[in-house]
Symmetry: C2
Subunit: 168 residues, 2 copies
């Protein structure tokens, strides 16, 4: 199957969001096994002014839903960003997975040259659809899924690269 | 410009390897300013059985050179993995950037359906070229560039998302 805007996005998000859900499931089991308050892990961060685990998961899912919506030209669904437990984070990922999987190839394919404009705190970024996906949305998505993994790994959760890559 | 195997790989690697070089440059300057032995940072890791900074940079560059070589059907250049200083890491990234930029679109484009076989410690993984790039090589590349960034951020280096995304 040739590379297309759809094959470069939807299956990638599905694989790595499912893997992220698996990593969080192992983190929750780790809390139970070690009698650690799960709140310690969902609020953990790698440095005081970095985002905590919860926010990493929120932003990763935001990039998935935001990029597909922009490429398809539909309104981006707004999520409330109120997640505070592993259960909440799982629900957010599940909701995002449903949304990602609702897109049909014909909604995304052909958006390569679509003019995409982002307004980030008053800074305007303009891209073609292809550049937006490959050089902004996917790198940011992986940045936040990896940082979520790194926060948990740093706190002793026994996960490995295989967990990062696919639901085990 | 339509998405293609070339536009989905070479410009992405160039942008994020250049950004990684910038992050490491800031880390080296941070060591000088704070009178920290640079060896502390190049050997830093987020957990005892995770790879140190040096190895993260080595693996990130391996995914860049490995994926383009496999997609183009040329031999993968072997690097000695002996880097031990920031200067060594910069040289490795520069060498990888030269290699990545040596590929012409016609060497990479059309590799979407190429049969790619990886042998990882005796485990065989088979992909189409497109799946290999999008679901294996790029995610792994970003996993290791992000982890390098996270190690430095965790150690107080003042870098932000902009540094991760492009050389500042």
């Amino acid at each position: 199957m040739p590379l297309s805007m759809y094959t470069a996005s939807v299956p990638v998000y599905v694989q790595y969001l499912s893997a992220l859900a698996g990593v969080l499931k192992k983190a929750e089991a780790y809390c139970a096994a070690k009698k650690i308050d799960p709140n310690v892990l969902v609020t953990a961060r790698l440095f005081p002014d970095m985002f905590a685990l919860t926010r990493q998961v929120q932003i990763a899912t935001d990039h998935a839903k935001g990029s597909l919506s922009r490429l398809a030209g539909v309104e981006i669904p707004s999520y409330a960003d109120t997640e505070a437990t592993f259960e909440d984070l799982q629900a957010r990922i599940a909701k995002t997975l449903d949304y990602v999987q609702s897109f049909k190839p014909e909604q995304i394919d052909g958006s390569d040259d679509k003019h995409i404009v982002l307004d980030i705190h008053g800074n305007k970024f303009e891209f073609s659809g292809a550049d937006y996906l490959m050089r902004w949305a996917l790198p940011n998505f992986f940045f936040h899924t990896t940082t979520a993994y790194a926060i948990l790994r740093h706190n002793g959760v026994e996960v490995g690269k295989r967990d990062f890559m696919s639901a085990q």
